[in-house]
Amino acid sequence: MFMRFIYKFSSPPYFYAISAKMLPWLTVLFLVLLGYGLYGGLVTAPADYQQGDSFRIIYVHVPAAWMSMFIYVVMAISGGIGLVWRIKLAEIVSISSASVGASFTFLALVTGSLWGKPMWGAWWVWDARLTSELILLFLYLGIIGLYSGIEDKRTASRAVAILALVGVVNIPIIHYSVEWWNTLHQGATVTKLDKPSIHIDMLIPLLFMAGAFKVYYFIALLLRSRNELLEREQNAKWIDELLENVK
């Protein structure tokens, strides 16, 4: 049954139509989750006894960091599906996720340093997780660079799928080695950026924000996939009807 759904969902015209219907609902859901998350995070959550109000940056930093990792894994999996079963839509989902993932990684880095500055007085802290995040950003830049380097879109997306799979195998190794390196060179400032032991009504807004970011990713993914689909299916017949009622 699941495979039937996959094939039905992955036929371009069906995907194009269904995504148009889903987008408004997703936007509403995104705004609701965001509203709860922001209200909880900025207003009701008590200030941290140690870090004061600057800890509220975690409501943006942590979800962004989670998303950067989550999107890379989704990109690798959908790339792998596109490579093995040659489902065009999986390739499109994979490459459309790359730029969203890269922006979340960049976001996690900037908010991480904005959080680090008041706490440890330095814009950049060689903390294990921030360093892994930086390396993840290079992985994303490699993916985007490779995709834009190859002219033929089908070959480019297969190249990206291979690189993403190689990357996803390497991420745990890189993360472990950076973690290990961090404990080895324990510098003077003990940099502990992991979440402070979090109080329940600090945690709830964090989960809302994480949910909001996931829904946002899905929206951005659908929008980009639709564009990529139009590019790839230019000569298809279903585009002709589509263009008729657009005029």
């Binding site: 040659r86 002219e151 033929d152 089908r154 230019q234 000569n235």
Partner: protein, 204 residues
């Protein structure tokens, strides 16, 4: 070449830079036949060859080698050989080293000396390929086909940069290869003197 080989193509289509090069292309090539692919430059001849050699996936349709899809057929790459514009020869090595390398990679039917003698390169065993003329290099590539067991020959413009005598020689070998139950696919601009009984033609 005792058993019969067969290459079948169903509904092949190819899109390059959003231009449909060809669509619903069907043909069946069996032992002893030559398939000539004609068409203007940029009509997709080379793209079709890249698909037939399995390097490029067709947009749609599939290819069968002895009733097996070429992607998962073990024998296809064992039986097929390809000569492109650049012959696949290492110019810094001698003729003999190139042929020995090709035999080590796949299989041996003729000795190197016999194969080189057949294509009229006897005695050139130890000369660097860099010092050979374009015609001689193309004949060396032909010798590679002769000295390894490759029933299916896929040739991209085999006659370019060849003098009359070399073209004549090449055509003879294609004919004998086909008569011995081999298959040949080739693209070409100028008219060939190959007997029409063997020929199948596709115009892109």
């Amino acid at each position: 070449m005792t058993h019969l080989n067969k290459l079948e193509a169903y509904q092949l289509s190819c899109v390059r830079d959003d231009r449909i090069l060809f669509n619903e292309l069907n043909f069946t090539l069996t032992s002893g036949q030559v398939l000539l692919i004609e068409g203007a430059n940029g009509a997709g001849k080379t793209s079709l060859l890249r698909i037939l050699t399995g390097f490029r996936r067709a947009e749609s349709g599939h290819l069968l080698w002895n009733e097996e899809l070429i992607e998962n057929s073990v024998h296809f790459y064992e039986d097929a050989a390809y000569i492109g514009h650049n012959n696949g020869l290492k110019v810094a090595l001698t003729a003999q080293e190139n042929l020995r390398y090709a035999q080590a990679l796949s299989s041996t039917t003729l000795t190197i000396d016999d194969a080189m003698a057949k294509v009229g390169l006897a005695g050139y065993q130890d000369t660097l390929v860099r010092l050979l003329s374009a015609g001689q290099q193309r004949r060396l590539a032909l010798a590679r086909l002769l000295c390894t067991h490759k029933p299916l020959w896929i040739l991209d413009e085999p006659f370019t940069s060849l003098d009359r005598a070399s073209i004549k020689l090449f055509e003879q070998f294609i004919e004998t290869h086909a008569n011995q139950g081999g298959l040949v696919i080739m693209t070409s601009h100028h008219e060939t003197q190959l007997p029409h009984t063997l020929m199948q033609k596709i115009h892109l």
